[in-house]
Point group: C2
Chain length 346, copies 2
């Protein structure tokens, strides 16, 4: 049985800059995706419409066959006027990062009330607010409760701006799934492929499985799987595919920490099919990777299809163990060297 998927869209992806961007941007298409919702956490972050348009043109020059949906980084520089300008220029959303919790988030926000005038205009012009839903660690907050501790912020923003479309990004906990379900139709949630697979035991001692938010407990993973299996239309794929140079993912000495991030772009659609099949949700694949997100974002599908083929007679397909290289840059994907049951035929 082949699977023909309408115009897959990855609603959360990091495409970086420079040579690394040249390496990873074509991987969106390689991984089966036609549309990419692009994160703005560059150095410096994308805080203006003009920057976003330049970045979009750069990405299109690298990979003309992907539709890039652009976002701005929520920061004090972002004015209501800039929001209107962004909307007119086709920018789709604004991403909020709590300060210091992930790659290039040093300029992240500390309090949301400051941004209410911006949110007011976003609601008016219908720009999407993307929330990295974690609180920075302190004496009571750690990486395991950082997401549940953020959820009151989600509820407060939603109740203050009920018509503002909000996406809680890369949910990892039962608490987050339940919080989004309890919200109105203007609130949706992305789920990564790797969070449908990993639990805390998998990243303990294995820095390549380390990302933020970290994968949580078995019961949390079950909640993610259950909502995908249910086919709830406000829960859809955002890969949070986050390439880092291998030297930044390995830990050769006690003094070198490892970058947070898991890279899935070049294998994303086959990987997602494999994982959904593993918990009996293969029939939800098209909704999860295409139609649910497109409906929420109001990004129509075109006629393009991506076809997945299953290995016959127990045949499987290898994820390249050595990763991918271009110029001086290289990246190694999630599950490198492992076998999966699906591959892309066209």
């Amino acid at each position: 049985m082949d699977l023909s998927i309408t115009h897959p869209a990855d609603f959360h992806v990091h495409l970086r800059q420079g040579a690394l961007s040249e390496l990873v941007t074509p991987h969106v298409r390689k991984g089966g995706f036609c549309t990419a919702y692009v994160m703005p956490n560059l150095k410096p972050p994308i805080t203006t419409t003009d920057q976003a348009l330049v970045y979009k043109a750069t990405l299109e020059a690298i990979e003309p066959n992907v539709e890039f949906l652009m976002t701005l980084y929520l920061s004090p520089e972002l004015t209501p006027d800039e929001i209107r300008k962004a909307k007119n220029a086709g920018i789709v959303g604004v991403k909020s990062y709590p300060r210091g919790v992930t790659t290039n988030s040093d300029g992240g926000i500390e309090s949301y009330e400051t941004y209410y005038p911006v949110f007011e205009v976003m609601q008016e012009v219908d720009l999407v607010l993307n929330l990295h839903g974690e609180i920075p660690s302190d004496s009571n907050i750690h990486i395991l409760n950082a997401e549940p501790s953020f959820l009151p912020h989600l509820h407060k923003i939603h109740s203050t701006f009920p018509r503002l479309r909000i996406v809680l990004e890369h949910a990892t906990t039962r608490a987050a799934i339940e919080a989004v379900k309890a919200c109105g139709d203007t609130v949706a949630c992305t789920i990564t492929a790797h969070h449908l697979e990993l639990t805390v035991d998998d990243w303990a001692g294995q820095s390549w499985n380390f990302c933020k938010p970290v994968a949580k407990y078995p019961d949390d993973r079950q909640a993610l799987r259950d909502i995908v299996k249910e086919g709830h239309p406000r829960f859809f794929l955002g890969s949070d595919s986050a390439p880092h140079p291998p030297r930044n993912k390995s830990t050769s000495t006690p003094s070198c920490g490892c970058a947070a991030g898991i890279y899935t772009s070049p294998i994303l659609l086959p990987l997602t099919a494999h994982i959904l099949e593993s918990f009996g949700a293969l029939d939800r694949l098209e909704g999860f990777v295409s139609t649910f997100g497109r409906d929420f974002y109001k990004i129509p599908a075109n006629a393009s299809k991506v076809v997945l083929k299953r290995g016959v007679n127990g045949a499987t397909f290898s994820i390249p163990e050595g990763g991918y290289t271009l110029k001086n840059e290289s990246v190694v994907p999630f599950w490198a060297g492992k076998q999966i049951n699906w591959t892309i035929t066209k």
Copy 2:
């Protein structure tokens, strides 16, 4: 101010075999300790008195200036007769590993009732039972709740054998501290130096800080610090110092997992002083590293003292960044390259 500590004793240490043992065994003395309570998880495990005595002689040949207290590995081969023989030969304790949770624990136990005849004789002859207090991961158990989930086993063994001396090893949770406090005077608890310092955020993405049990939440660390600060005599140092070759601690690719274990032996007394001082418990150092454990184990101190000197005028001492090497073996300690406030003068 110098600190003069009576005859320090590390009540939980891994001294390995072969060339690695030749490298690490002298580090007990180097780290300021005169007595070492030696774990039996070798390949093959130390399951008989004869094996333990051979191992003890090997260790004494490497390092004559340390008193080695020997243990047996709890396994089906261990009979009541062997327990009596062990006691007569000066073996001090029997260590229980749940199956599969740590280095060389594949032969670990799955049910304690099987061992009640052994425990009965251990109680009679006054041999100590050392418990690695974790349940293996399954659909509900993961590395963060593995220790609290074990505590009912502790209570059951203690209530069945109230005169059996039991040590819950390397406690990491508030639940474990409270469980041991609630037991009678025959139940004690070791705490490592590194668990007084680390929380879950510290080993996320940093495999060198990964050990089993993993360091837990800030509130758990606070409970460990509080019981040390209180000077409770049934809570004392067992370093669980666990050397691994650097290649087994690094994570160069997604397919290589990392060995669980943190190595502290060569820096143990200065490190412990530094960490205790950081949370205001320096006045408890001698109890924690010497007298409390000796009293519980009935291992008298001799007249030997170890003297720690503090850096003056803000001077600090470096933990060797490159670690230590002998023949083809090398080990890199916890906090390699970091500065600490104390050093050993004699």
